[in-house]
Amino acid sequence: MVTLTLPDAAAPTEGAGAEAAGTSTIDLGTAPVRELNQALHDAVDGQSWTVTSPGGRHSLAVGITADIDVAIEGHAGYYAAGMHQKGSVTITGNAGVGLAENIMSGTVHVTGDASQSAAATGHGGLVVIDGNAGARCGISMKGVDIVVGGSIGHMSAFMAQAGRLVVCGDAGDALGDSIYEARIYVRGSVASLGADCIEKPMTPEHLDELAGLLAAAGRTDSPADFKRYGSARKLYHFNVHNSTSY
């Protein structure tokens, strides 16, 4: 059974119809991940949940569909907040591979570092990583916004289709390789750009957009310090003369 510590009110009952009632705590030192996720899938809008002793377990708080706030106090393993759809998940610690993969909307916030493929294929929502992110951050992103306080690894935003990736530190090799219509903002250095990714001018529209993203992530960096990168759109159609570009 889920071990529930209820500081404020009665335990939320399973299934729809339960009233939001304070913050429920699930201790993964004793409860299995299955019970955590089932409880979150049965949750109703407005509830708050605290997860203690996560111990780097995988698939924590995945597939959330209700407007709830989940606080994970410690490190999470692979696919934390995977396919997130509503509400917020905050991880006070580091996150493993595939943080918030395929996020649709809502917010996921990691106070530490995130491993590879953070926010991979995300369709929407906001992913904030206060620390660094590993390789392939924002790979195949499809509309998600990602703000990384530190630096990101190689092959980030590979085949990025839509959305915005903001990097307050540096970017690794092959940034934005085969990028489509996503926008990348980097404050620090870029080790190298991938195929078809180029630096683009910052217009007032982009400065506004970036300012909004930084504000949403609770950051104070100046948009004027960033450079913008995006697609040269030269590889959108297959052409034999481009075969040496890959």
Partner: protein
């Protein structure tokens, strides 16, 4: 040497299938086995265009196949069932290893994954209608799930692909099974491809891509690499679906022994093995014809892996790639598969390569029976197209009825053979019921050469 006139008139990339063969006996013309006319046309086409040939369909080269196997009907030593009277069941349960809601299908012939984008919305609807009518499953493809497809499919398998185009957790939860696609038989190791002429506004919108671009999908998943990661990924999918939904792992046949074992280790409920004859909507011809192994060679390797792990019939095996008849179905099952999947054959049942469109095929430089330019979007049968006028040529209700007819025939044919072998369920067919006609097929299928007890490579 002067070529026959018809060769000069034919489009460079088409080996003029309807052209009369030159009369070699009278003229002394000798065609090279190495540089045959199709090969010469390929070289000419490559020299003219500077780009490789992309096409649909699967491998067209001749490879050892189910045709090279025969059944040993019952007589004295085995007891047959009455062909028209005694029961021979055909149902199959897929995904009961870990999932609380496995699929229970009435026939072991399922419909393979084909995308909306590669196929028209009408074609997808027709596949759903036909499959549902006979109680079997159909499968989405790259690009997500359409409402037409979900609405008309009683059992719908949702493909989870490297591109994750249109991947939506709401659809994932609506699916009756999830198929994690690592590859397909037409191109093990290759990613998807959908050329600009088929990227209409709706297709582009579903995939979050600019309209009209040439889409070349990734060949590796973006957030996991290798079987250890896959195990965690499957765990995530199970958590999101509350352990209800079966999880398949689909591989293109290249090293099916190891890949099947690793899929089982990763926690798959069902392993799907697609041989090199399996179809594609768009792939480089050199890839289709030269990568992967025949379906016949893949099945025994996959079955061996399942048996060694003690999960044969517990982790179900679905085999695809070149299934055409009930005999093929029965042979695949006898070799140890739990079910089969059809793609190309299903499209033919809908109306693909129908001679009634002979004039249209000819206008495209092809002919009924040869048309494979599924990448091109100008399919006269209205199946592999996004052109609204062409798509209207396929009535989804009539197409669905033809597919249901065909699925019934496949099932009845397989039953006929199973009864003759004395089997009261298709799953009771076994390798012992089979012999091979050729040494190659014998070695690959691991059944004896007909009239002998010899299996090359065994013992």
């Amino acid at each position: 040497m002067t070529l026959p006139p018809v060769q000069q008139d034919a489009p460079a990339h088409i080996p003029a299938p309807h052209a009369p063969a030159p009369n070699t006996a009278e003229s002394g013309l000798r065609e090279s086995a190495t540089f045959d006319r199709a090969t010469i046309a390929d070289i000419q086409r490559a020299a003219a265009t500077g780009v490789y040939d992309i096409r649909g369909w699967g491998a067209k080269r001749k490879v050892p196949h189910f045709d090279d196997l025969l059944f040993l009907g019952a007589s004295m030593s085995r007891y047959p069932l009455e062909g028209y009277r005694e029961k021979c069941d055909t149902d199959v349960v897929l995904g009961d290893r870990h999932a609380s809601r496995p699929l229970h299908l009435q026939t072991p012939v399922t419909i393979a994954g084909m995308s909306f984008g590669a196929l028209s919305a009408n074609a997808k609807e027709a596949l759903g209608r036909g499959a549902s009518e006979v109680g079997t499953s159909t499968t989405t493809g790259d690009g997500g799930m359409t409402p037409e497809e979900r609405g008309q499919s009683r059992h719908l398998v949702y493909q989870y692909l490297p591109s994750r185009y249109g991947m939506n957790p709401d659809d994932l939860r609506k699916a009756d099974a999830i198929e994690i696609v690592l590859g397909q038989g037409a191109k093990p190791g290759g990613g998807g491809m959908l050329l600009g002429q088929k990227i209409t506004e709706r297709v582009a919108g579903m995939r979050t891509l600019p309209v009209g671009i040439d889409q070349r999908s990734a060949s590796r998943h973006p957030d996991w690499t290798g079987p250890d990661d896959l195990e965690i990924k499957i765990g995530e999918l199970r958590e999101i679906t509350d352990w209800r939904t079966p999880v398949y792992v689909k591989i293109g046949a290249s090293r099916p022994y190891y890949d099947t074992a690793l899929a089982v280790k990763s926690g798959a409920d069902v392993v799907v093995v697609d041989g090199m004859q399996g179809g594609t909507a768009a792939t480089q011809q050199v890839f289709i014809e030269n990568v992967g192994i025949p379906t016949l060679a893949a099945i025994p390797q996959a079955v061996q892996a399942l048996q060694e792990l003690g999960v044969h019939r517990k982790v179900q095996l679905i085999v695809s790639g070149g299934i055409r008849t009930g005999a093929d179905v029965a042979k695949a099952l006898a070799l140890g598969a739990d079910a089969v999947a059809i793609g190309t054959a299903a499209l033919i049942a809908l109306g693909d390569n129908d001679p009634r469109y002979a004039a249209d095929y000819s206008a495209l430089g092809s002919a009924a029976g040869f048309y494979d330019d599924f990448q091109d979007g100008r399919d006269p049968a209205g199946i592999t197209t996004q052109d609204p006028d062409l798509a209207l040529r396929l009535d989804p209700v009539a197409g669905g009825r033809r597919l249901a007819n065909y699925l019934r025939v496949l099932t009845m044919e397989a039953q006929t053979i199973a009864r003759a072998c004395g089997k009261s369920h298709l799953h009771n067919l076994e390798p012992e019921d089979l012999v091979a006609l050729t040494i190659e097929a014998s070695a690959m299928a691991r059944v004896p050469l007909a009239g002998t007890s010899w299996i090359p490579g065994a013992g």
